[in-house]
Every structure is written in C-alpha cells, then in structure tokens.
C-alpha cells in the first residue's frame, strides 16, 4: 500500500533544509511506529520520496511525501501517531492512500505550486508584515500583460535568455500579498523568487532592498485529462479557469478508514 503524507512547515523549522527534513521524517516514522516498507540489501532504507524541495527560509502549508507501507494503517491513526512525535513547526495534515498507478504516485507528477508572497517590515523577521502598496495591483497587471517576460538564466557554462511568462499561470495581488501560481516540477520549474526579482526590477525597485517572505500554499498535479499542450498559448483564457486543470496532490489520495 502506498500513502501520501501532507505536512505544514513553519516557524523556526523554516531554517531546516530539505535533506534534514527528509532525515527528520525517516526518524519520525520509527518514533511513530508507522509500518513503513524497506528496500532490501545490506543497508536497507525506507521507501520514501518527497515532492518539490522547499528552500531554506520558506514556509509551507502544502508539503508532501509518499511512502510505501508493509501493512495497512488508518489515516486517523497515522496522523495521530505522527503528530505525537513532531516538533513545533511541523504538523502532519493528512495521510491518504494513493493508487499504485503512475498517474497518481511518484513525485514526477508535480506540475504546479501556489505561493503567497508577503512584504516584510525588514529582513530581520517575517513576523512583521507590511501592506502591499496599492499601486502594485496595477503594476502586476501590466507586468503580466507583457507579451513575454524574458529573464537571463545562468547555468554553469553559459547565460541564456528565457521567457518565463508561460510558466506563470497566475499572478495576482491584494493588500495581503502577491499570489503566484507557477509551473513546478521536473518538466518545467519556476521559482517564486525569480518571478519576484523580475517583477521588482520591472517596477524599478532593487530586489536586494525589498524584504519578502515566501509561503507555499499547495502543490498540484495536472488533472489526468488535461494535456500539457492545452495550457500553453492560450493567454487569458487559460488563466481564468486555471484552477480546473490542476488537482492538489492530497486530493489524488483517499482517506483510509
């Protein structure tokens, strides 16, 4: 049986990097008595895979890991047992069984992620948040109305120009923050800080002087019936009903009773 665990990461845990969060969960599985399955061989390891790594400093309401179980456990028991061995800053939100087929399992299905970006009083803390300037609302619209949004992408060997606009499925703003819906995963991947850096440059602000906090809200897979090509080159129409083309990773699983 395969299961998907959804968790939140916040507070001081934002300083714990992805690899250490993986180690944390390996140990947590043992502490919580989750009947997780192992690989064979001399140094057996847990069958466990994480979705999209979260950068250090970023908080999240939608982190995921998939595990394989050697015997079944109910969702309620698993969530309770895990939450008893968590630390402040990591909460397990759900535990769901996922089908074995490739369309639902494995973290290669990750296709998009939603972020909330807030403006901080200073770089020193993410606790004090400022209102987004009213002018930004219009600037975001203008930014997204550009025919293309070209950035310089640096790799080890070269610099190359790239249009990131097709990977920004949605960018909206209100007084609480900027909401981003971005292509994410192994096929196409756009990081929220690159979008914000490009936006700030566009509106004439220096990115290194604007303290921002990034919070991931959810991670999505593409709905099985939505082919990738449908998303591209559709302009505003695609943006309008974008939500219907994706499904959260959690929704692909079923509660075990």
């Amino acid at each position: 049986m395969k299961a998907r665990i959804k968790f939140r990461k916040y507070g001081v845990m934002k300083f714990i990097g992805h690899l250490d969060v993986m180690r944390f969960f390996q140990k947590a599985m043992r502490r919580a008595d989750i009947p997780i399955a192992f690989t064979g061989g001399y140094s057996p390891h847990m069958i466990m895979s994480f979705a999209q790594p979260l950068g250090v400093g970023v908080t999240s309401d939608g982190e995921y890991l998939d595990i394989e179980l050697k015997e079944p456990i109910t969702s309620e028991d698993a969530v309770n047992q895990l939450n008893q061995v968590m630390v402040e800053g990591i909460d397990v939100v759900s535990f769901r069984e996922i089908p074995d087929d490739k369309k639902c399992s494995g973290m290669t299905i990750v296709a998009a992620a939603k972020y909330q970006v807030t403006l901080q009083e200073s770089f020193k803390t993410s606790d004090a948040i400022k209102r987004i300037p009213d002018l930004w609302q219009e600037k975001v619209v203008n930014f997204m109305n550009q025919p293309e949004i070209v950035v310089l992408k640096r790799t080890k060997r070269s610099e190359k120009e790239m249009d990131i606009k097709p990977m920004i499925y949605q960018m909206e703003t209100d007084k609480d923050g900027i909401h981003l819906f971005l292509a994410t995963g192994s096929e196409q991947n756009l990081k929220p800080d690159l979008v914000m850096e490009t936006f700030l440059n566009y509106i004439g602000e220096k990115p290194e002087e604007v303290p921002l906090h990034y919070h991931r809200l959810e991670v999505y897979a593409r709905k099985p019936e939505t082919p990738a090509t449908m998303l591209r080159n559709q302009g505003e129409k695609a943006t309008a009903d974008i939500g219907e083309q994706f499904v959260s990773l959690e929704e692909l699983g079923e509660v075990v009773r």
Binding site: G11, V12, S43, V87, T125
Partner: protein, 621 residues
C-alpha cells in the same frame, strides 16, 4: 512560538542555521518562572561535534529530572557566526530558551581535549562573562568544568570557578542543593565557593596557592582556605546499572558526527596500556547489566528514531556478556533496518562472525591498533597484542572475504629506537603477505593496508607521565623514517601510510602536563586570534608560537625533559585511586620491557580497589 536570539537575516546568511535554533526532538523546555536553577551545559566546539557527546546527554537528562533545575545547551558558534556576534554585539545564548548565557546560574563546560581550550575563552568572551574567575561577581554564572582534561585542570585554573573531578552522576545534586541554600540565605559568590569546596570531588582553584622552585618545577601546592581540602577525591559511580542514563537523548536536525544511539556498556578498562589515560582514570572497570542494556537499546531506538546503534566502551571485547548483547541486538533490530556498529572490538572468530552479519564485507575494513610496530615496544607500552594474534586475526578475516585493513600506531613512545619505527611498515607488509598467501582465484583482488601514525603525548596519571616528548622537527623526522621504510617493502603497492602533523601534538603536550603558569599562553593565543585549534582549516601554529614568545613560556620545559621521580606534578592533588607509586612501578617495568597482566588475570595493586567496586570485587561476588 519561541523567539530566536538571532534574526532571520543572520540565520539565512550563515552556514547551517540549525546549529542555533534548538527545538530538537527530546530537547527539554521548561517554564523559567517555575524553576530555581538555570544550568547551561557547554561543549566548546561546533554543534555537530558537541551533540555527539554522551556525557552531556547524561547530565542534561539527570539535571532536567529535577523540577527545580532547567538544563539547557550551548556550543561554540562557528567562525561565520562568531564574527557576526562580535560585530553586532550579540551575546551568546542557550539553544532552548535562547536567553543569554550570562543570565544563567551555572555554565558547565565539558573539557574533552586540549585543543578546545581557546574555544572555552571564546564561549566566555561571547557571553560577556569575565575571562578570569577573579574578575567575576554575583551577576555572573558559576563556571564549572568537567571531563577528562580536568584531571590536570591547572592550565585552565584561572578561568574556572570550580572543577568537578570524576563521574558526573555522584555529587551534582549536592552542589545544586548547596547553591539553592546559599541563594536563599543571601550568601555571596565567595560563600558558595566555600560551600562547594567542602563537597567531595569539587576543586576550587582560587583556594590553592602554588609555589615554584628556581628550576621551574613546583615547590608546593597547598590550600589557602580552610574550606578546601588538600586532596580532591575522584568521583566514581560504582553501580553503573542503577544510575542515570538518558532514555530520550536529544536528536539533532542536522547530521551530527555521532548520528546514532550510543549504548555505554561499561566504564573503565582492565587492560592497563601504559600510554592510555582513560585506562587509569576510570579504574576500576564497571559493567552495566546486560538486561538493562537490552531495555535501554529498545527505549532509545524508539524515542529517537535513529537507524543505528553503537556500543560504547574503551574495549568492548572485554565486556563479559558481549556475545549475548550483540546477538540480541542483531536478532531484535536487524530486520527493522537498524545498523549495528561495534567499535573497539578485538578481531577474533566471534567478532568476524558478528561483523559479517552486520556489515558489507566488501566495503568494510578491519581495524587493528597495535600502537607499536615491534614486540619490544609493545611490551614497553603493555599492549598485549602480539604479531601472531594480529596475523591470525587478519588471516581469518582475509579468508572470510575482507581485503581492507586499517592499522594504528604511535611514534615517539618512550625508549623508541629506529628499529622500532621500521617495525611498523614491516608489520604492515607481513599482513599483506598473509593476504597474498591465499590462492589468487580465492581472494578478492588486491588488499589495502592503511597505516596511520600519531605522535605519542604523555598524559597525567599514566605510567608515562614522567616521559619526555620531542620537538616538531624530531617527530617529522621519525615519520620520515617510517615513510622511507614503507617504500622498501615487498608489497608497497598495497600499503598506504598517513601521519598526523606534529604542531598540535606539541601544544597538546604542553597543555596536558602544564601548570598554572601556562594559562597566560592560552589567553595570549586567543588574543592573537587562535580559535578552533582542533580544526586544521582554522589552526594557526604561527600565532601559537608567537603567543609562547610573547609570554616567555618555554615549550622545552614542559615537553622535552624527563621528569624526576620526586617531582611534584600540577595534578598530584587529585586522588584517582590509582597511586603514584603504582604508576612509578609501571614506568620502571616499562623501561625493563616487562608486561603487567590485566585486572582479570591478576590484581596488580594499582590502588583503585579502595573504591571497592567493579572488577576489583568481581570474582569475590
């Protein structure tokens, strides 16, 4: 949610912020309004090293069982944060509460090796606590030191209010109760120090005066305060089964050096190797009950979620119930993906059988620590490992499929000759020859024999405490002789040789047997910028040499002379049970190349029997 001492901007800029945020699994939070004593435990090195230390975990657990005490932790900030804290005047803080160390009642520092001494000054300095005990007042925490280096605390005497000599499990309750009592009665810092000095095992350096002879050796060492006693008794927990042991050790988020459950199976060692300080300090050998250990293993794996368990002791093969314990661990936990690691095992049929069950033979290597190359030299150091035993063990292992061997030796041992040095590569070669005796089609390619040498440092309370050391150049010359001889060996292509540099050896030598006067070299070195001396990337020998020059301290006086039989040592005021006359007898036997049997074969009357416990009473039970 706890407020962190460091802001986001700093934490996102430095390496591994997880070192400074606390919040680890099994770390203890308490309401500071509800407790009487705030104790901060410090390991003066980086977090990953400090978190791997069992002693702190034991004391952390023991203190936090008391409702009136909250024990927290602090480690040396790494170089990147050290710089920022100095620039921005951020005081050093404890991981749990994130409160400044200066607000605590106690700062307990475990002193595990000499090369952490500048980091002790760093911790005091960053905390805003005066470096000299004499400059502290009632607003400062009591600075207490413990651990192996406190068996000669004198180089650090001026920086500590007190030292706890011996096993931590015995008199801390008394010490804390006396503190509470003194606080209640409105007593001063000095009043408390007097009370503490009356507790067995507590050494308050300010209460002692040292006088020196013209030749620089000690003329007298005596208390200057009626509350202090002439001799400090080493503290000893006789029953290591019915005492404190942390069932829920703290689990770091980042990978610590020791990222596993550590099961201490016994304390002390029966062997009596003459260079080994731990072998003398922790006499008599005391074993933990095997049934209790099984329960501990289970509890600790469950509470931490670690995927590995390691046995800890000075010589695991001497634990009488080793077979039973190891078999239990394998049967109980192997199928749950738990690794079992067994350091310090003698290589024999049993250990090879166990190792073949718990590790991948193709990847793992065997370790031998003959410590000396020639039989003569091994007799001098009383290392009861013979060439026959080594070749027999290696042979069995080679036939079992292993092809990697690691060998550890010391250079610069007392009475060492060029022949003794050359015996090291020759022994390595004999092991390789043993491997190539196996028919080609039955062996697993080439063998790999890796030899490492370190330089011998005479330690207090060992039979070699009278021995001389050598200069940096002399050590390197000795390593060169060994290296050259390696090139002469038949199987040189299968042999690898590594040696440690000698610069830190010289410094360790000075601090291991130094007196109070060398405290000022330490301070001068720190002022010149020395810190993290145990780390090759930060160690700066030139600054150290400059510190010796500036303070006029002569390294040769401490290192390069054989001490006279009647010399008063800085550590003579400590009574570890093992007597100076026994150590002298052992020194003389060493010089004659006579071996001394281990504690189980025959009692040699070392003096530890006065504790009336452990191996000294084993056969009489």
């Amino acid at each position: 949610m706890r407020k962190l001492a460091l802001n986001d901007e700093i934490l996102l800029k430095i390496e591994k912020p997880a070192r400074y945020i606390g919040n680890e699994v099994n770390s203890v939070m308490k309401d500071k309004e509800q407790i009487d004593i705030r104790f901060c435990m410090c390991f003066p090195d980086v977090y990953e090293i400090g978190m791997s230390h069992l002693g702190i975990q034991i004391l952390y657990d023991m203190f936090n069982r008391r409702e009136d005490v909250w024990c927290e932790r602090v480690y040396s900030p790494w170089m990147d944060l050290d710089k920022i804290m100095r620039e921005e005047n951020i005081p050093l803080f404890a991981l749990e509460s994130q409160d400044p160390i200066k607000d605590f009642d106690f700062l307990g520092i475990t002193i595990q090796y000499e090369m952490c001494y500048t980091n002790i000054l760093q911790v005091l300095d960053l905390s805003g606590i005066p470096l000299f005990a004499s400059d502290r007042d009632d607003s400062d925490p009591i600075i207490i030191g413990g651990g192996p280096c406190t068996y000669n605390p004198e180089p650090l005497a001026e920086y500590f209010d007190m030292f706890y000599i011996g096993d931590g499990e015995t008199v801390y309750d008394q010490l804390l109760d006396a503190y509470k009592e003194n606080k209640k009665n409105g007593g001063s810092r000095k009043d408390y120090l007097k009370k503490a000095a009356e507790i067995e095992g507590i050494y308050v350096p300010a209460f002692y005066d040292v006088a020196y002879k013209e030749d620089g050796t000690i003329a007298s060492f005596a208390p200057n305060n009626s509350h202090a006693s002439k001799k400090i008794q080493k503290q000893m927990v006789l029953d290591v089964t019915n005492t404190y042991y942390p069932q829920k050790p703290v689990v770091p988020f980042i990978k610590a050096t020791q990222d596993r459950v550590v099961l201490e199976i016994m304390r002390g060692c029966i062997r009596g190797c003459r260079f080994c300080q731990a072998g003398m300090l922790y006499r008599p050998t005391r074993e933990r009950d095997v049934e209790v250990l099984k329960q501990y293993a289970y509890n600790m794996l469950k509470s931490t979620g670690h995927e590995e368990i390691s046995l800890s002791s000075l010589s695991s093969s001497d634990y009488t119930k080793l077979k039973e314990l190891v078999t239990f661990l394998i049967e109980e936990f192997k199928d749950e993906g738990i690794n079992i690691s067994l350091p310090s095992l003698r290589i024999d049929a049993f250990s090879l059988d166990v190792m073949s069950k718990v590790q991948d033979i193709r990847k793992s290597s065997l370790t031998f620590a003959p410590e000396a190359g020639s039989q003569r030299m091994r007799d001098v150091i009383n290392k009861g490992l013979t060439e026959e035993i080594i070749l027999e063990g290696a042979g069995q292992a080679f036939e079992g499929g292993w092809n990697k061997v690691k060998l550890y030796f010391m250079l610069g041992l007392p009475s060492e000759t060029e022949e003794d040095m050359k015996a090291i590569p020759r022994l390595a070669d004999k092991i390789a020859r043993r491997y190539y005796e196996i028919p080609k089609d039955e062996r697993n390619g080439k063998c790999q024999i890796t030899t490492s040498t370190s330089f011998f440092i005479p330690k207090p309370f060992t039979p070699f405490q009278w021995a001389r050391m050598y200069t940096n150049e002399e050590y390197i010359a000795r390593a060169a002789i060994v290296k050259h001889e390696f090139q002469e060996q038949l199987n040189r292509k299968s042999l690898k040789y590594h040696w440690h540099d000698a610069e830190t050896t010289v410094l360790e030598g000075v601090f291991a047997r130094g007196d109070r006067r060398i405290g000022k070299v330490l301070l001068e070195a720190y002022r010149l910028g020395c810190i993290y001396d145990a780390w090759t990337e930060t160690f700066d020998n030139e600054k150290w040499m400059k510190a010796f020059e500036n303070t006029g301290i002569d390294i040769g006086f401490y290192n390069n002379r054989e001490r006279a039989e009647d010399e008063i040592f800085p550590w003579d005021f400590i009574d570890i049970g093992v007597t100076k006359s026994f150590l002298r007898r052992e020194w003389e036997r060493a010089m004659r190349g006579e071996v001394t049997p281990n504690c189980r074969i025959q009692c040699s009357g070392c003096g530890a029997a006065k504790y009336k416990g452990g191996v000294c009473v084993e056969s009489k039970n």
